[in-house]
């Protein structure tokens, strides 16, 4: 019994616990609200929608977080053992029903609110007139293929892959003659771009922070996604699906350029092949 008694009466432990929880909530909130470490600003409308949904989620979870942690801090301090008798209660059905319903409405409602932006990216096809680019992940590089003037990709396959031909173009196919393969993803400003993701070896993950765009590239599948970039500049592309020893070095650059500059860039890339 001595053990129980020794922890009785002293307010130091509950006070310390409460103070820690309050500080913890304070510091966490500070970092989130002041956005000390934060994602970069989005470069398109889709990114802004994702951010809006993030903000909604943050507000709701933030309120629950603060109330729960501070509630915990309060009860451990307020109801520390002071030698009295605890309240005898097996619970309260109305309260159970209330917070079950509240949690359900809040969480499921939040989920529904976020479906629109998801649907936009995945349910809808890329708008007509989108620039088509094929993205190939390969241990440990990204390659990008433009269909050229004819708008069609030439045939390709693993059997044609070599150092000089990283995406495995079949040089017998005339449609492939004007294909351009680059190590940088150049896109024109303000035009919709349709990417087709694929891989010749293992699973890779295509991720551009500023586009709020992430999608795995799986061998054996061709996965389409689309986006539009509205701010010119260079943005990093990284791999987000473990692909082997140099996973952390699998990096490329997304270059968003005004259309005339883009055309010039693409012509240069073609010429240097």
């Amino acid at each position: 019994m001595d053990k129980l008694n020794s922890s009785r009466g002293s307010a130091a432990v509950p006070a310390l616990l409460a103070v820690f929880l309050v500080l913890f909530v304070g510091v966490t909130l500070y970092y989130f609200v002041m956005q000390v470490y934060w994602y970069p600003p989005p470069i398109n409308e889709f990114g802004r929608e994702v951010d809006t949904q993030f903000a909604r989620t943050f507000i709701i979870t933030g309120i629950v977080f603060v109330l729960s942690q501070l509630g915990l801090a309060w009860v451990v301090f307020r109801y520390r053992d002071r030698g009295g008798k605890a309240t005898f209660s097996h619970g309260n059905n109305s309260m159970e029903i209330f917070w079950t319903a509240a949690a359900f409405v809040l969480f499921v409602g939040l989920g529904l609110a976020g479906q629109k932006s998801w649907a936009q990216l995945h349910f809808a096809d890329a708008p007509p007139g989108s620039l088509l680019i094929e993205v190939t992940g390969k241990q440990f590089n990204w390659f990008f293929r433009y269909p050229g003037a004819d708008g069609t990709f030439g045939k390709s396959g693993a059997q044609f892959v070599s150092e000089a031909n990283p995406v495995g173009l079949d040089d017998k196919d005339p449609a492939g003659k004007d294909d351009v393969v680059t190590a940088t993803l150049g896109v024109p400003l303000g035009r919709s771009v349709k990417l087709v993701l694929r891989s010749y070896d293992v699973t890779h993950g295509f991720y551009v922070r500023e586009l709020r765009l992430k999608q795995d590239a799986l061998p054996g599948l061709q996965i389409p996604i689309h986006f539009q970039a509205d701010v010119p500049g260079d943005y990093e592309i990284v791999c987000t699906q473990l692909c082997g020893s140099n996973h952390h070095r699998m990096r490329a650059v997304l270059k968003v350029m005004p259309p005339p500059e883009f055309d010039k860039w693409l012509a240069n890339e073609k010429a240097s092949e």
Binding site: F20, F65, S89, Y200, G220
Partner: protein, 584 residues
């Protein structure tokens, strides 16, 4: 019933060291064996993470490892083995097979598990699985690098995809398959015991919440591990028999054209794996919820608030747990409609989790809280469960997950909720039951030091990871030097590594306390030092071979009758005859 009415209650105490302590069929010895296995594994797993953190903080530093420099693939080996050891050998064994084995039969008034021999077999199979897993470190090429999720084709094509993907990965698959078999045996035992061997009067709605948690966890294991076993066999066949379940055609790896395979589906592996993998998360955390509820009631001297709601929440989490596996795969190329369904299911699983949280607060509310070490860790569990659970609401939505998937935000989320919270559940159980198991109590002062280092420590480690994730730092990166936007994050990684050092030091205090208390802890004379109500506190510490010494306990009431008005004592044990209650 005849003399050979076998099983459960009729085996005689064994003779000799080997049968008493090694190949024992006594659930208490097996429980301790599991706990020791987990204790060993958790320190191995933690050691690996320390190595990883050192490399992440100082990528250029020459840290010797396996006779050579620290290369990126060594980082991935450590990461894979850290994850596998922690998830399987620690989070699945200790809370369920360890504490569950020891206390489930006692809390339901049984003399042993339903199938003691199966129980022994289950432990030794688990042990074999651990040995096979650790052997992967010592084979050519070393341990696998494909992570604990072993996504195909990285895991399926052999050493051509990277070092460790040869024999190391094969051993990994064997280990997981063996582990699945062991877990299935354990699950059958737990469920049968709970259903058939409860004491008289112990109805399902009078079970301690610990028992409910172990029971539902066992059901999850029973339904999930068979699927993992099947997936493991398919993957193994792809590797050794040249089949193409998970390997598509037309691959070229390290310049070598793959001609053996056609048409397999990497997504199929992901579906099978996560069908197991998500319930596995609940297998890890549910027992912690049970122990936390149990201890919160004991030390706030109050009945659990909303006992029935707690039971339904456990069942609800278990049930929904089987319908949300797809949320790990939003960005894997699955149909967006499926993604939508998985997302809504996942948001819905937040509801029973919220019920549990509010009921824990309700239990504390109006109590007379006694801050023992067990109680501190139980309170810490609630805090961690909230912190780790809420970030799940971000990841459950495909649109938000776009940004956060496979970043450190996910690492923070699952470490808090299924790693650290579950381990806090284990610490709670250890401080609470140590004296019952070993007849000596742990040192409470050292225990408080342990708590005050660990609780802030884990938050210092894992909260900053949310921010790394927000910036976009991908997980499973051996270092952050190759990507421009990751370079400014280096100080955060260094901070985390320092926090790891301090927290690990705290765990050494625990280890010391544990070992020291085994030999020199204060002997307990009182069967019921916490003034608790459930059956384990009605028998000596440590309990005799058949727990109740031939006596069959009878249960008269629910498990958490604390501070009942009109009684001098502030607790009314489950077994106390109603005729005697008034006389206290």
């Amino acid at each position: 019933m005849s003399t050979h009415a076998v099983g459960a209650t009729h085996h005689a105490p064994p003779e000799g060291f080997i049968w008493k302590y090694i190949f024992s069929k006594d659930h208490k010895v097996i429980g301790i064996q599991y706990l020791l296995l987990a204790l060993f594994s958790v320190f191995v797993g933690m050691g690996l993470s320390v190595y990883m953190r050192i490399h992440l903080a100082w990528p250029g530093m020459k840290v010797p490892l396996f006779g050579g420099d620290f290369t990126p693939e060594k980082y991935l080996m450590l990461m894979t083995m850290h994850g596998t050891i922690m998830v399987f050998m620690v989070l699945t064994t200790a809370p369920q097979a360890g504490f569950g084995n020891y206390f489930l039969p006692i809390q339901i008034g049984a003399a042993d598990m339903a199938f003691p021999t199966l129980n022994m077999l289950s432990f030794w199979t688990t042990f074999l699985s651990l040995m096979v897993l650790l052997a992967a470190f010592f084979v050519e090429g070393g341990a696998p690098i494909s992570g604990w999720t072993a996504y195909s084709p990285l895991s399926a094509l052999g050493s051509i995809t990277g070092p460790g993907q040869g024999l190391g990965q094969t051993l990994w698959i064997f280990s997981i398959a063996i582990f699945s078999a062991a877990s299935l045996m354990g699950a059958i035992n737990f469920i049968t015991t709970t259903i058939d061997l409860r004491a008289r009067g112990l109805t399902m709605m009078r079970l301690p919440l610990t028992v409910w948690a172990w029971f539902v966890t066992a059901i999850l294991s029973l339904l999930a591990f068979g699927v993992l076993l099947a997936a493991g066999i398919l993957l193994l066949l792809d590797r050794v028999a040249g089949t193409s379940f998970f390997i598509p055609g037309g691959l070229i790896v390290s310049g070598v054209l793959q001609t053996k395979h056609t048409g397999g589906s990497p997504l199929l592996w992901q579906h099978l794996f996560w069908f197991f993998g998500h319930p596995e998360v609940y297998i890890a955390i549910l027992p912690g919820m049970g122990v936390a509820s149990h201890v919160l009631a004991t030390f706030s001297r109050k009945p659990v608030f909303g006992y029935r709601a707690m039971v339904y929440a456990i069942c609800g989490i278990g049930f929904l747990g089987f319908m949300v596996w797809g949320h790990h795969m939003f960005l894997s190329g699955m149909s967006p409609y499926t993604g939508f369904a998985f997302s809504m299911m996942t948001m819905a699983i937040g509801v029973p989790s919220a019920i549990k949280t509010f009921n824990w607060l309700g239990t504390l509310w109006g109590g007379q809280i006694r801050f023992t070490c067990a109680m501190l860790f139980a309170i810490g569990f609630v805090s961690l469960f909230v912190s780790g659970g809420l970030s799940g609401l971000f990841l459950a939505q495909p649109a938000v997950d776009l940004q956060l998937h496979n970043t450190y935000f996910v690492v923070a989320h699952f470490h808090l909720i299924m790693g650290v919270a579950a381990i806090f559940g284990m610490f709670t159980g250890t401080y609470y039951w140590f004296s019952k198991m070993f007849g000596r109590s742990m040192n409470e002062t050292l225990g408080k030091w342990h708590f005050w280092i660990t609780f802030p420590g884990v938050y210092f480690i894992f909260m900053p990871m949310h921010f790394l994730g927000l910036v976009g730092d991908p997980r499973r990166y051996a270092d952050m030097t190759a990507v421009e936007f990751l370079k400014p994050l280096q100080p955060v990684h260094n901070f985390i590594t320092y926090a790891v050092f301090v927290t690990v030091a705290g765990q050494l205090i625990f280890l010391f306390n544990f070992i020291w208390s085994l030999r020199a802890g204060k002997k307990v004379t009182d069967m019921n030092p916490w003034r608790a109500t459930t059956l384990e506190w009605t028998i000596p510490s440590p309990p005799p071979f058949d727990n109740f010494a031939g006596h069959e306990p009878v249960v008269y009431r629910g498990p958490y009758e604390y501070s009942v008005p009109g009684h001098t004592e502030d607790f009314v044990p489950q077994h106390l005859d109603p005729a005697q209650v008034g006389k206290i």
